[in-house]
Symmetry: C3
Subunit: 129 residues, 3 copies
């Protein structure tokens, strides 16, 4: 059910882009209890300057052109603790597996309702009983 948008600089290799989507899926499955195989993501690459971040930093965090934006639309209901652990795991794993700085991992969540999804075939798979 989550639909994740991952936006990176155009210089990011296909291998790293694939790793990013694998890492986000792994965090969704292990921390946020998203169903197995529920892995739907849209990766987009951008020209230099098109990923905009504050040159002065924000809240004490400094960013580089290697910033990675991850925006995930999913069903409402995850607790604050789950969201905290989710952010932590994504940033840790991205750093460990790709070398990208943890500071450059920006995450945003958008909560929706279960009936707001069709996973193909024109069906509402999460329809209320």
């Amino acid at each position: 059910m989550p639909l994740a948008r991952i936006d990176v600089d155009a210089s990011t290799s296909q291998e790293v882009r694939r790793k990013l989507s694998d890492i986000v899926y792994d965090a969704m499955a292990t921390i946020a209890k998203v169903p197995v195989h529920d892995k739907f993501m849209i990766v987009s690459t951008h020209a230099p300057g098109d990923l905009v971040y504050p040159k002065e930093g924000y809240l004490g965090i400094e960013y580089t052109p290697g910033i990675v934006f991850i925006q995930i639309t999913w069903n409402a209901g995850r607790t604050t603790d789950v969201k905290k652990a989710f952010y932590r795991k994504i940033a840790d794993d991205i750093h460990e597996k790709t070398g990208i700085r943890k500071q450059d991992v920006f995450i945003n969540l958008v909560d929706v309702s279960p009936e707001n999804w069709s996973f193909g075939n024109g069906e509402m798979q999460y329809a209320p009983k």
Copy 2:
């Protein structure tokens, strides 16, 4: 008022991309009672591998690299039955008019408030009375 994002593989022709936006608009107008001419969409194309789906399938549905992601932000208030009919019509029409598999039509809705739109001119056209 809806703003639809349609994300497809870079090999998708301009003609098919145009058909996809026409089909989504038609379903919005006929099923979801969106006002006539309320047709605003952003189509994006992606390199191979950047549209991510589970190779194992999900909920019994198998996907191909021809997967089409449709994410629509619109005003809250549509019923479950309307959303069901909306998914059905989009998938059926896409298959009939472009040959894309129904299984490859992924749809997600994001509900917002009427005051969250400006359709140009710096105005809030749906402002509360």
Copy 3:
């Protein structure tokens, strides 16, 4: 905290794209009281025909291929009056500083919760106390 997506035609120069993000940030800071340096945006460029708008216009507004889509995800809580002033300032400033028609400035807001953000480092910076 806002994450703004700005979608423009591929013919839009890098300088205008930079101006657009500066203008949106300025309106967020001065009108919507977003914290200073909270400037995170994703600019995307699109092939001709991929920014879809009604050829007949909508609500009396006519559009051109130079249409600019601005979709901002931010924390819920802004009043209708703030949103109105926000739309006004963005459209006015875009026209004044880039020459883009005010009619071609389309804006949509998506409201989320404070715990739905990580600004880097794997932390939930806006966690409830």
